[in-house]
Symmetry: C2
Subunit: 246 residues, 2 copies
């Protein structure tokens, strides 16, 4: 059976039209499915409102105690429950989870050397509680994961949502054929002169487009994660409408 792991980010969540559109297509998928969401800039907006500094290192956020608290509140609280309630209203039996719930995605706090990113959790497909998630899917539930995890000591941690989606896809491939779908604010991956997104992006093509600066910034880790997922056995990976190939 095919399991669909969808990942949506802030660009979809924060725009009611895109969100409506997504929820409609997500609910029309009749195969088993999991939703993983990020939160984009909502956490930063709260930080600003509270006049707290957003700490970054080379474009990556440093999660101090206050940032963690706001991340948990925004991601596992507001965004997660808003999505669960919206899905429920559409007849989709959604259950909001973090990696802490049922200790479904055990994490380890990232080594503070050479750079201390603070309360950030690294995760591994081999420790995901596959049986727990499978049981929920078997009973027709739709797990909705916030990008929050915890370690064995009970410390909550912030974990990248793209990574959670990839890790869940890899963990669940033991039981299902898995399709991993990254959805974001563009239709897919574009060539430089393309008006419509590429239907397929191969690893070679990606490396060329990257070296020419056409694929840059946030798209790089996304496609790298997609390639990792394919390399380790996820059946299909799409970034928007673009199929990624090895």
């Amino acid at each position: 059976m095919t399991l669909n792991v969808f990942k949506i980010g802030g660009s979809i969540i924060n725009h009611s039209d895109s969100l409506e559109h997504f929820l409609h297509s997500f609910c029309s998928c009749t195969e088993p499915k999991i939703l993983v969401h990020g939160g984009g800039n909502q956490a930063n907006e709260w930080m600003q409102q509270l006049q707290l500094p957003v700490k970054m290192h080379e474009g990556r956020r440093i999660t101090d105690k206050t940032t963690l608290r706001i991340a948990v509140m925004v991601y596992a609280g507001w965004i997660n429950k808003t999505l669960v309630a919206a899905l429920g209203a559409r007849g989709c039996k959604a259950i909001g989870l973090s990696g802490a719930d049922g200790f479904s995605i055990p994490a380890v706090k990232r080594n503070p050397h050479p750079i201390d990113f603070g309360y950030v959790g690294d995760i591994n497909a081999s420790t995901v509680h596959v049986t727990f998630i499978q049981r929920l899917l078997d009973e027709g539930f739709v797990p909705v994961f916030a990008p929050i995890t915890c370690d064995a000591s009970g410390q909550l941690l912030n974990t990248n949502a793209d990574t959670i989606a990839c890790t869940l896809a890899l963990a669940m491939k033991e039981k299902y054929k898995v399709t991993l779908r990254y959805l974001f604010d563009r239709e897919g991956v574009y060539h430089d002169n393309g008006e419509s997104p590429l239907p397929i992006l191969s690893k070679n093509q990606y490396e060329q487009l990257r070296s020419r600066g056409i694929i840059s910034d946030g798209m790089i880790p996304k496609i790298e994660t997609a390639l990792q997922a394919l390399k380790y056995g996820v059946e299909k990976v799409t970034v928007g409408t673009t199929y990624i190939h090895l």
Copy 2:
């Protein structure tokens, strides 16, 4: 089999000693159990930090859009996941839920007449998804409920945690003998000259102590809810160490 429904409030959650003590005793209960938590003044503290006015009517909070968002963030986000992670670290398979998750506790937005309390959800034991909760319990999970619900349209709502605990206890009595335990910042219910809490409080005694002003304020709705629970079939109800009797 006996199911234990524990309810803890902000006075326990906000003090690390009381919380440690509670978590220890909760984990040592080997029977099936559910935890319902409030959040006390944490939501108010966030409102203050954001310089938002806390709106009240006769001592009861009015939940406008911003208050709801903060309640969801604090209760279903920070407090719920902190408790789940702390229980997980103690080997307790906790799963954080709101009434929206699996639409486990369907709610109806309170009638705005005569007083509009805003985004407040009223709930009913007859519509609780008993099978879903029972399934989790059967598999050894410990549901941890935040006092957030939603209605059929997907609107998130704020619901009193004491009421959630009572409603869950009443709903689950179809399948279990239920003990409902309200834990708070005092050891139990006190008589006027008592140095130790009353072991038992009957309905008659309660009415006398209430008319003499010895039981007052926040204890009144708590004991009223306890009496309701007993009246409709919950096996045992305790407020702290005090057993409530009809």
